[in-house]
């Protein structure tokens, strides 16, 4: 007797462009805005006998922004790894998934004009509830999937220099002062959500169009920061079937 277990891999590769708005009072009191690009890879694995799925997402952001006078420039880059588990409920073509996720974020903001405070490092680990809902309808005799994904960090930890602390003190002298800061949804009210439309172009390949909003904020050590990404995303989704015997 042969027992087989099937795992469906739903993998998406997307690229997006859009606006970025940055505030980091360690670097300047001014807000900076401009354009940025996001690369997003997401992989969801769901076994046929199980309602729990595993999600792995890689998000890479790069932005170039300037102040309102157009005289000062900042460059921002970041990588975020999302790892999560979601439980599936399904009613016909309506699917609801909810669960938990961990996000590890590594990034920087570089102010091209500043002297001893030219850059701000961003390192954080967040735990967050996550939910995804999708609904499939038929249009032009093809299934069209509307999908919405949401993450709202609940708590975590992040790196931050203290209010007027220099990186020289932290890394050259080793003087630490509340540089690893516990965060909650109050001190770091982040939000990430994605609305997309999937349109199948072949049996295995689907075109995805959508909006990704990633709003990272923090108010720790008397320093305020936010990075708002708005991206128009385009990409492809592919389903793979793995069978284990």
């Amino acid at each position: 007797m042969v027992v087989s277990a099937q795992t469906v891999h739903n993998t998406a590769w997307q690229v997006g462009v859009g606006s970025t708005n940055i505030l980091d009072t360690y670097l300047s009191q001014e807000k900076f805005s401009g354009v940025g690009i996001t690369l997003l890879n997401s992989d969801e694995r769901l076994r046929d006998s199980c309602r729990w799925s595993t999600i792995v997402e890689h998000e890479l952001n790069m932005s170039s922004v300037e102040d309102r006078a157009g005289k000062r420039e900042e460059l921002q880059g970041g990588y975020t790894l999302f790892l999560g588990r979601q439980y599936l409920w399904q009613w016909g073509t309506l699917r609801l998934q909810a669960g938990a996720m961990a996000a590890a974020d590594l990034g920087f903001i570089y102010n091209t004009s500043n002297s001893n405070n030219p850059a701000q490092g961003r390192v954080s680990l967040q735990l967050m509830p996550t939910a995804t809902t999708s609904y499939t309808l038929r249009l032009w005799r093809r299934p069209l999937k509307l999908r919405y994904e949401l993450q709202l960090p609940l708590a975590g930890v992040m790196f931050s220099p203290n209010y007027g602390q220099s990186y020289y003190e932290i890394f050259s002298l080793g003087d630490y002062d509340h540089n690893i800061v516990p965060t909650t949804f109050v001190s770091a009210p982040n939000l990430r959500h994605q609305l997309s439309v999937d349109y199948p172009v072949s049996r295995r390949l689907t075109l995805r169009l959508g909006y990704l909003g990633h709003y990272q904020q923090a108010n720790v050590n008397n320093l305020k920061s936010h990075i708002y990404h708005h991206r128009l995303m385009i990409g492809v989704v592919a389903d793979f079937l793995k069978v284990k015997r």
Binding site: T25, S113, N116, Y168, E169, V186, L191, H226
Partner: protein, 336 residues
């Protein structure tokens, strides 16, 4: 239960979350004035110290200059008012940079004799001096090693310092001339000073602001100078200073001042004991200000400079004879 978690979370916690934002001043003369005044008020690290030392009252400064700002003024006029306001801080690390001008208060050296002559320096160095990265050096006739370090913005490698000290191996002493050295990279100053310290030595303290209040500071953390693991100098040293010695060069003087075989010769240093940070105004002008205060071993800021061990000025008579009074004094001191 699990399916109600998300709606429960959304309706319970979302009301507590909000945008993290900062008040933006308008890009008007008044808005730029307010923004600059607030940056200094919340971030400048010597407001309390200067109130005590020179009677600076930052709130009074606000009242004094606010009336000079009006919406009809030109950029040049606004720049002049803001530059005047910043001058009240009497700090060489406080600057404002616009396309047409650079606001500064250089009274820390402009109000004093320079005590330095490039012509005399050339006479002492001659033409066959050696250059090791940012350092010029040679052995003088009386077997004294002479080192000229013009700016700590120019780095020097450990190999450069090894070669320089090897050259001076048979010398009776070294003169390190940092006159007119306006600072640069603190690590260059530390790297050089580490060649003259024989054991881990307390050279001062450092702290930083922890909030917007004028007195919101962290605890003072000690700063130590570690001896270099490479070639080190054990014989006497004279460090030559003038009023133009500032910032990282002032720190170098502070380090060397703590060492038993080192004497400081020349004029009082210019100061500059606050590591500067930068910010910008609504109109794009960048602002630099002292943000991280550093102190000597007595926990006193060296913001207004360091008194030398031997106060010596260049004299006109010596200048006419082609002699640098300060170098000559140091040579005699080392010969003794």
């Amino acid at each position: 239960m699990a399916k109600w978690f998300l709606p429960f979370y959304l309706f319970t916690f979302l009301p507590f979350t909000s945008c993290v934002d900062e008040e933006e001043f308008p890009d008007t003369p008044q808005g730029n004035f307010e923004a600059l005044w607030q940056i200094i008020d919340q971030h400048y690290c010597f407001l309390d110290y200067k109130q005590h030392e020179i009677g600076l009252d930052w709130q009074q400064v606000y009242n004094k200059y606010k009336v000079r700002v009006n919406k009809g003024m030109t950029n040049q006029q606004l720049f002049e008012v803001l530059a005047d306001m910043l001058s009240e801080l009497r700090d060489g690390h406080v600057n404002m940079n616009a396309a047409h001008d650079y606001a500064r208060n250089w009274s820390w050296h402009e109000d004093y004799p320079s005590n330095f002559s490039d012509s005399l320096l050339r006479a002492y160095l001659g033409r066959d001096y050696k250059i090791a990265a940012g350092i010029d050096y040679r052995v003088l006739d009386d077997n004294i090693g002479y080192v000229r370090y013009e700016s700590f913005q120019q780095g020097v490698g450990e190999g450069n310092l090894n070669e320089m000290l090897s050259e001076f191996m048979t010398c009776n002493g070294i003169i390190i001339d940092i006159r007119n050295n306006g600072g640069g990279d603190l690590s260059n100053a530390q790297q050089l000073a580490a060649r003259f310290v024989q054991q881990k030595t307390l050279v001062g303290y450092i702290q930083h602001k922890t909030g917007k209040g004028h007195s919101d500071f962290s605890a003072m953390e000690p700063r130590y100078l570690e001896p270099s693991k490479q070639l080190r100098w054990h014989k006497p040293v004279c460090v030559l200073t003038n009023r133009h010695v500032y910032s990282a060069a002032n720190e170098f003087t502070l380090y060397m001042h703590t060492l038993p075989n080192v004497k400081i010769v020349g004029d009082h240093t210019g100061g500059g004991a606050g590591m500067p940070f930068s910010s910008s105004l609504p109109n794009g002008w960048s602002v630099r200000f002292s943000a991280v205060p550093m102190y000597d071993t007595q926990r006193q800021p060296a913001e207004f400079g360091i008194e030398p061990d031997y106060r010596v000025d260049l004299t006109v008579d010596d200048f006419k004879r082609g002699k640098d009074t300060i170098i000559e004094f140091a040579r005699k001191l080392l010969a003794e």
